[in-house]
Symmetry: C2
Subunit: 697 residues, 2 copies
């Protein structure tokens, strides 16, 4: 069914509805209209890295980890698998009469906000700090979810439109001030790409105001979306965001005024309850039947596109339940975890050899923590493999594994009545009695997450700084002091200052929240069954960087992210080691295509990621540092050489002026090709220089 | 070191202490007296089913499950293993300077209270409802912990002295009224046995008052303990129980009065803070130096017995850390889980055959719940095997396993915003698409536990009734309605009304809280690698039984437990099926020894438990139903026959009069031998009659 046909069907259906019936379609818990064969439908479902919150589903690595794959093709396959599971679940659950929340086909994913400030608690839901990478990953995810069938497989949603990125604690009343340049250059490209190139069916407005206008009713944002970009799908509010208009933003005084403001602006669907006042607003003459009809047509168009209204059905109606957590999907989740792990340091200790590493001490609050496998917005896996379990399984019969929890994730003592550090003597004992130590630290969704959803109530899900929680810092120090060969594994979704580990551990591996079976992937990397190959989709700063950086509430990009940060990061954007030893043999460019030859001089087969960065050498509008404009994941056997072509982002050869206009650059461009960004810190960490070429355009 | 030598050493040491230094020894966080070489020591440690709360340790099945083994010899081995781990942990942790709570050698285990009322939240910490079984298990546990070495391996503690068994919510102000007969016959025998026969080093007073006297300072109870039973160890208060004297029981008005009352009565050690007022009480002349000295000598005697004071040390000082969770201990925990599981119903569906059971649907909130493996008062296992994981592992490569959480343990919906029963459509789907359904229900420590420790705050850890939580009842009903071959597994530590499962499921297996690897044991039983052989150490009532039973606050035994309950239980005390088919060939008695010949007529090798019950046919003082007086766990191969001797409890040939005196019975005794209690319901469930013999004595 084409959009045109779907809209016609929706118009026809809506034409037979009363104004009350139309209004009843604009709440996320949409009413049934039985006389017209319209079943009740709950619009709210989530699929950030697997069908979430509805029950059993394959749980892939958290979004930030999938960004670290730098592999949009694979992400599209993953999103397709997620969509398949969503359909399978919808088929059986709706057959059982369950059409409640988290069981529908309208996915409020992906989150394509820019991970602007490293403290933001929801940053791990995003694809990181780079607009181009975010656009690529976001488009792939939307394509994967929505498919290219006769009907839409599931609908995706680009959220949170726009500029949204913390602080969580004040999101309901906050006004983000973003300059025209930052909007065009940083905050909006991914949304534009998802609308214009990926045909995303839905856009969700953010909680905050942006430049004074509440995002769920912003004339400026709506004009961009509908007029400039030609968005034809439906617009949904973030949950209870319209209530914020009168309760927190104070831009209106009453619910009916908020209804008027949102609906008139073009917010079609309300996650929340304020649209329960639509009929009141209508009766008071604040909105017209036409306002209501317009939105009703849009949301019902989506349902027709999904094939869940009318008699035609969908080609996906026969997807059987058995695809949920099928072997193929579990295998994909495992591969995604492998590809997303980022090796940050390796003093040649990795990969470990079971014959040589003796007794293994696995220590730390995330070593056996199921929660740190699955991040937030997750489904229910039917099997978890923690890092500890992964290590136990791979060393079974060859190595004794000793374990200590080491400390709580954030509380000073594990046991209520104990003195602080009540597991550290045990941890030190385990380290002393081991030949190899694996220390598993980090966070989970109770420490970085969403306002209201988190255990970290003192900060509403945001981090206060970039340090590990204090008890983990003490544990790390004490265990490193024992002096055994030590690998630090960080399970977290954001930038953490790992200076202590970088300086004193033998290896540092970042696993993110690697999905339900992530511990198996981590163990397979630790023991060399597979080479790590993930790259940082964000900058790992040292904690002191926060002093120079703009305030969390300041949305200027100046001094933020690898494009604008002028200090020396701990680990730069784009960085990540492998067990191979790839080098760029040469780089040639023709039009918007780069030709790169690569050789793996090492002894281990590995994936690598060729990254292209472009810098306008002369424009006053260019960001100070080169900008990612292309990437490609490759695989090379030991000693293998290969030739690869990469397409350069066409927008890369532009700059954005202070008025927010995208204009041609100076014409003098420098293109870099490497396995990381072209900066000194990356060179220092990798011992490799990027190859570059000058381009005149 | 003998007790005599230890007491002398303690006396000598105490003689050199100031009164303040002596007083500092009577708090659970005992002060160091550096000038005398006395290190600080925290007395509080727990070892109910493994070293608890201190860190990594082997986690055995919860105590109630270990009682279901009816195997005191094996329990002694387990307690010895626990004690070994405690020593190993103590050796390394004290070497690291950590002498804090949960790291010492003085174990506040076992809990030998009688599981008098099926609602009691802490009942699963006990060995059930029978005084004889409790005595046997308790003695074995004490022997195992304390050992028979030169020094005491760890010290055990008989708690909570006496009569303590709920309700949790009012324990700090409650007065339990127990008749002299019930005291002698039910509440005290296990304490007497542990003191007089097992030499338990420590006794803990209960929170409540008993017959008007707060248990931590009860002249009546103290007389029994010290004068009648000759208890020579130290007496410790339950935690903050002495504060209850003035704050809740109101038997005193101030902390110093409470100090006086407790110390004068003979409560040597205070878990809590009230003994911080000892010196104040002393200065006010309320207690004497001699009062303080007496208790200081007692507690320091224990430390000398443990070899942790003085220069001599202990033969256990060289136990290496590596024994913690060593293969042998993990194997024992697994065997304990096997022996403790009780098969309550089997329509021949069990054991399952992987070739025949097709797709397996595993459903329920406890299927993949780590918490329900380990009960309360638990250590940290380095590996959990849930029931779901056990089933996945054993069927890997042969059967597809589908999983649904089904519902929350007790909340109406799993997801916060969802309507009730938000996983039931999924569960029904899984059931419909499976050939065999395994439904894993029950509780965990958040639902049955201790006041203050539990998530079940509406009832302070006690159950309100014997029903499964409402969402689980709805799940059970809906899944059974699908009509597939269904096995129900109950993970709980107390009597639950399983009428619905008994009537409509094909098999019912009670796993208790089976320990960290319990899921493997359950799976091995389900799939016939081992026969179940546990027996109920308590009565499984139907919920209506509560109507006839005395109030929860009424401590009369009349109408309670298998000895006094006159109704028909769902599953009787002592009951449990196997995959074998054992029968008693004959029974002979000579003096206090029973000779029993047994044949396993079945096709499966199995453990069984021969149970002996005795009834005084003529005495007005005899409980209405026969009483357990002997048991022996046996093993028989298919078709094997064996002859076994059992010792009958000498006390069994007595009755207790209304004044609480144990007197000879009528002389006309009937002895029953079987694999369960001699009651109609057991006969109905097993199709077997017990064999009996008349004895005149």
């Amino acid at each position: 069914m084409t959009r045109e046909q779907a809209r016609k069907a929706a118009e026809e259906l809506v034409s037979r509805m009363t104004v009350e019936e139309m209004a009843g379609q604009l709440l996320f818990e949409a009413d049934a209209v039985e006389r017209l064969g319209v079943p009740a439908y709950n619009w709210w479902n989530e699929a950030l890295h697997g069908v979430a919150r509805g029950g059993t589903a394959t749980v892939f690595p958290q979004a930030i980890g999938m960004a670290a794959m730098f592999d949009d093709e694979f992400l599209e396959e993953i999103a397709d698998a997620i969509s398949t599971e969503a359909r399978a679940r919808y088929n059986v659950l709706s057959a059982e009469g369950d059409r409640d929340i988290y069981h529908g086909l309208t996915m409020w994913s992906p989150n394509i906000n820019i991970f602007r400030d490293p403290r933001w608690g929801r940053g791990h839901e995003t694809y990181g700090e780079d607009p181009y990478l975010t656009s690529c990953m976001g488009k792939a995810f939307v394509h994967g979810l929505q498919g290219d069938g006769e009907t839409m497989k599931t609908s995706a949603c680009a959220k949170h439109f726009a500029v949204h990125s913390g602080p969580e604690a004040i999101r309901h009343e906050f006004n983000a001030i973003a300059s025209p340049k930052d909007l065009t250059e940083t905050y909006l490209p991914a949304f534009k790409a998802l609308v214009c190139e990926a045909g995303v069916e839905s856009v969700m407005g953010a909680y905050n105001r942006t430049n004074g206008e509440p995002c769920c009713a912003s004339p400026a944002l709506m004009k961009l979306l509908r007029e400039d970009w030609g968005f034809e799908g439906h617009f949904v509010s973030d949950c209870w965001a319209i209530r914020d208009f009168h309760e927190n933003h104070k831009v209106t005084s009453t619910p009916v005024e908020s209804v008027k403001m949102a609906l008139k602006a073009g917010c079609d669907l309300n996650c929340g309850c304020t649209y329960q006042h639509i009929i009141a607003a209508y009766k008071e003459g604040m909105i017209t039947e036409e306002d209501i009809r317009r939105s009703a047509v849009r949301v019902l168009t989506t349902r027709f596109l999904l094939g869940i209204l009318g008699d035609e059905g969908s080609e996906y109606d026969t997807i059987p339940y058995e695809v949920v957590e099928c072997e193929e999907h579990l295998r994909m989740a495992y591969l995604a975890a492998l590809k997303s792990c980022v090796l940050l340091k390796n003093n040649e200790i990795l990969p470990l050899d079971t014959d040589k590493c003796g007794t293994i001490g696995v220590i730390g609050p995330n070593a056996n923590n199921r929660s740190s496998l699955i991040g937030n917005y997750h489904g229910v896996p039917s099997r978890y493999v923690t890092v500890l379990e992964g290590i136990q399984d791979i060393t079974k019969g060859t190595n004794r594994v000793l374990y200590s929890q080491g400390c709580d994730l954030f509380r000073d003592a594990v046991e209520e009545l104990a003195k602080p550090d009540d597991r550290i003597a045990e941890a030190v004992t385990v380290a002393k009695r081991s030949d190899t130590v694996i220390l598993v630290l980090g966070l989970d969704e109770t420490l970085e997450g969403e306002e209201g959803d988190t255990g970290n109530s003192y900060n509403s899900g945001d981090k206060e700084d970039l340090l590990l929680p204090a008890p983990q810092r003490r544990l790390l120090k004490k265990v490193l002091e024992v002096g055994k060969p030590t690998v630090v594994i960080l399970m977290a979704g954001s930038s953490i200052d790992l200076t202590e580990a970088e300086e004193n551990a033998d290896a540092v591996l970042l696993s993110w929240y690697p999905g339900a079976h992530g511990g198996k992937a981590v163990a397979d990397i630790l023991f060399g069954k597979e080479s790590p190959s993930g790259k940082l989709p964000l900058t790992f700063y040292r904690n002191e960087a926060l002093k120079e950086m703009p305030e969390f509430t300041d949305y200027t990009m100046s001094g933020r992210t690898y494009r604008y940060y002028q200090g020396v990061p701990l680990y730069p954007f784009g960085y990540g080691l492998t067990y191979g030893k790839c080098s760029i043999l040469d780089l040639n460019v023709k039009d918007s295509t780069a030709y790169v030859r690569v050789k793996n001089e090492g002894e281990a087969e590995t994936d690598e990621v060729i990254e292209l960065y472009l810098h306008d050498e002369d424009s006053q509008y260019a960001p100070p540092n080169p900008v990612l404009c292309g990437f490609r994941r490759i695989r090379l056997r030991a000693k293998e050489e290969g030739a690869f072509t990469l397409t350069i982002d066409p927008d890369a050869f532009t700059v954005v002026d202070e008025m927010g206009a995208r204009i041609p650059g100076s014409g003098k461009w420098k293109l870099f090709a490497g396995f990381g960004a072209p900066d000194k810190r990356t060179e220092e960490l990798t011992g490799r220089k990027p190859v570059s070429a000058m381009i005149t355009r």
